[in-house]
Each structure stands twice: as structure tokens, then as C-alpha cells.
């Protein structure tokens, strides 16, 4: 760190560490998506159709994902019911 930089950048964070942080997040996200099976979106549509026969829910209330931890894979299905649909 140079003498003058001390005054110049004391308040501002290095842009390279911002870049690294952003990259780590987006790359991890994209790797997860790339490794999930490609039938997932279709399966999500099918489940949505079945649930909708009984409960009215929106597209964004259902989430389907495959997570990997070690050599174990977990298929996670999340359906959020809004207050009006509960009754």
C-alpha cells in the first residue's frame, strides 16, 4: 500500500475483492443449476398441475431443486401456501 493510497482509498473497498465475491456467488449458483437434471422444469410443471387441482397456487409458490451433499442427493420440493388458499 502506497503512502498516498492510504488517504485515497481508506473508505472504499478494493474493487477486486468485490469482483471475487460476486464471482464466487454467481459461479456457485450456475454450477448448481448446470448440474441439476434437465427434466426438473417439466417435473415442476407437472407437480404444479396436480397441486392446482386441489389448491389454487401461483407459479412462483412452488420450488423444486436437487441438492448434493457428499454422495447423497436430495430432491427438495417446496410449496408455499398463501393465507387465502389455506382455507
Amino acid at each position: 500500500m502506497k503512502f498516498l493510497d492510504f488517504f485515497r482509498s481508506s473508505s472504499k473497498r478494493n474493487s477486486s475483492s468485490v469482483a471475487k465475491e460476486r464471482l464466487q456467488i454467481i459461479v456457485a449458483h450456475e454450477r448448481r443449476r448446470a448440474s441439476s437434471p434437465d427434466f426438473l422444469p417439466r417435473m415442476q410443471q407437472d407437480i404444479l398441475a396436480v397441486v392446482r387441482k386441489y389448491i389454487p397456487i401461483g407459479e412462483d409458490q412452488i420450488k423444486l431443486s436437487v441438492d448434493r451433499s457428499g454422495d447423497c442427493e436430495v430432491l427438495e420440493l417446496n410449496i408455499a401456501l398463501s393465507e387465502t388458499t389455506g382455507k
Binding site: K2, F3, V27, E30
Partner: protein, 295 residues
């Protein structure tokens, strides 16, 4: 041919990574130079890397896969000697010997240009396979200069690869695109499809500026390694000599004064399994005054 006696004890030596020098009859190693993003230095790297390999005595051919936007011929300075190209060979309009251009400066080095006029789709995997199989008999290294993008051209260039140089600039979009390409190397290549050993990946960080890294406004080589998580081959410093080299159509390793050229030689040595100290990663030391006030 060696005699068969004592082959029990020799089994250990038959692991994959025997050096090319000790087995003259080994088929060529196919190396793809790839990146996803354009303009990061794939063609510069293909030219320098293949030239350095040839200068070290390996019979090397460098192939351009960028159909319609070929530029390797220009960077190698043989643009006026192109008569037949890769697609002519694939479609039987010319022989491989007619299409291969022998470099006039470096012994052992040949260039196989891409077509400038043909439709991209005429570059079939089967056709490329035939050409690569023929080249494999005659060369030690086949360097494939990939087009940018993740479309068919890039996939074709990487399909037959044994090893890959992933060329990355220390910059967000290039790193992200490299990550995509690394994913494709693990899924879209022949080695992946046939369940063979995976393509051996090497990270090459180009256009590196240690002083900007020091100031905190450029990702460091270590940052890039952390994110991409593939073995690191080295950096090529940002250098004026790269443009000078492409202006004159001479691979940058032919410039004895060039830091980038030296860096490419180091990279080739490391690629061949030799140990070389990592250079060009630190700012050259400056005097006291300029250190205080920054230049």
C-alpha cells in the same frame, strides 16, 4: 519394440503421464485452447504455445476451428499461403498435405487453417475426427484453437481434446465464461461421453497486470484459481509486444525481448512437466520515492 521379459515390474510405469520424448510412437496429444469469452488471447496463446512446443523439438500442428472468422493464419503470418483449409480436407476437395502449411521460421511447426467462406455447420464431428486421427499419426501435439462462445464450433474444437488450456483474463466476465467452458469440458467431450479419464485442464491467466493487482483493482491469479479450481499453469503479463507480434505475424515467443514470450516458454515447460518458478506475478521493485508517492 521392447522385449516382453520383466513386464511385471514395468506395469507401474505405464501410467498415463509418461513424457512424449520417451515414446516416439505414441499418438499425438490433442490440446484445446478455449475460453468461452472472445478477445482474451486464445489465438495468441495457440500461436505462442504451439511455436514454443515446436521449438523444443516436438512435431506440432496448430488447427484453427473458427470457421468464417479465421485469424490464426494472420497471427502466424501465413495468411497468403492458405490454399486449402480444414473444410476442404473434410469434404475431400484437397488432401491434408495440401492444406498443412509448414512454418518458415520454426522447424516441426505446421498450421491447418479454417475456412473463411464456408458455412459453420459443415464442420462435422465425424469429419474432424478423420482429420485428427490422421494428424495423430504424424505429430506429437495437436493444438486446437477454439472459436469464442459455447456453440457448436467451440464444442467441436474441444471434443477430441486430451488436455485443455483455459485462457482467462482477470476480469469478471471472462472468469464466469471460463467456468462454463470448464463445465463443458467435463460433459461435452469425447472423454466425458465415453467415460474415459477426464480432459486434463490447465488455467492460463492472460493480460495480467501485477501493479493493478497490487492496487486492488484487478483480480489476482490466486483469486481466479480459487474461483475456477483447476490446476494453474501460469500468467502471461499484459505486454505491448503481443500487439507488435500480431502486427507482424510472428508468434510472440520469437521476440527475444518480450516478457510475454518468456512467460509462454515457462508455461510450455510447466505443461511438459518441468518445474519453473512463477514469474511476472509481482510488481518489479521501484525506488523509494516512487514507492511513497506511487507513479
Amino acid at each position: 519394440m521392447k522385449k516382453k521379459s520383466g513386464n511385471k515390474s514395468r506395469k507401474l510405469a505405464v501410467v498415463e503421464e509418461t513424457s512424449a520424448t520417451e515414446e516416439a510412437k505414441k499418438l499425438a496429444t490433442v490440446v484445446v485452447v478455449t475460453s468461452g469469452k472472445g478477445g482474451v488471447g486464445k489465438t495468441t496463446t495457440s500461436a505462442a504455445f504451439s511455436s514454443a512446443l515446436a521449438q523444443k523439438g516436438y512435431k506440432t500442428v496448430v488447427m484453427d476451428f473458427d470457421v468464417g472468422l479465421r485469424n490464426l493464419d494472420l497471427i502466424m503470418g501465413c495468411e497468403r499461403r492458405v490454399v486449402y483449409d480444414l473444410l476442404n480436407v473434410i469434404h475431400g476437395e484437397g488432401s491434408l498435405n495440401q492444406a498443412l502449411i509448414k512454418d518458415k521460421r520454426i522447424e516441426n511447426l505446421y498450421i491447418l487453417p479454417a475456412s473463411q467462406t464456408r458455412d459453420k455447420d459443415s464442420l462435422s464431428i465425424e469429419g474432424v475426427e478423420r482429420v485428427i486421427n490422421e494428424l495423430k499419426e504424424r505429430f506429437d501435439y495437436i493444438i486446437c484453437d477454439s472459436p469464442a462462445g459455447i456453440e457448436k464450433g467451440a464444442v467441436t474444437a474441444m471434443y477430441f481434446a486430451d488436455e485443455a488450456l483455459v485462457v482467462t483474463n482477470p476480469e469478471v466476465s471472462s472468469v464466469r465464461d471460463s467456468d462454463r467452458i470448464i463445465g463443458m469440458l467435463a460433459s461435452k467431450t469425447r472423454r466425458a461421453e465415453q467415460g474415459l479419464d477426464p480432459v486434463k485442464e490447465h488455467l492460463l491467466v492472460t493480460r495480467y497486470d501485477p501493479s493493478r493487482v497490487d492496487r486492488g483493482d484487478m483480480l489476482s491469479a490466486t483469486d481466479v484459481q480459487d474461483i475456477l479450481a483447476i490446476p494453474f499453469l501460469g500468467v502471461i503479463p499484459e505486454s505491448k509486444s503481443v500487439l507488435v507480434a500480431s502486427n507482424s505475424g510472428a508468434p510472440v515467443i520469437l521476440d527475444n525481448e518480450s516478457d510475454a514470450g518468456e512467460a509462454y516458454f515457462d508455461v510450455v515447460d510447466r505443461f511438459l512437466g518441468e518445474e519453473r518458478p512463477f514469474r511476472f506475478m509481482d510488481v518489479p521493485r521501484k525506488g523509494l520515492l516512487s514507492r511513497f508517492f506511487g507513479t
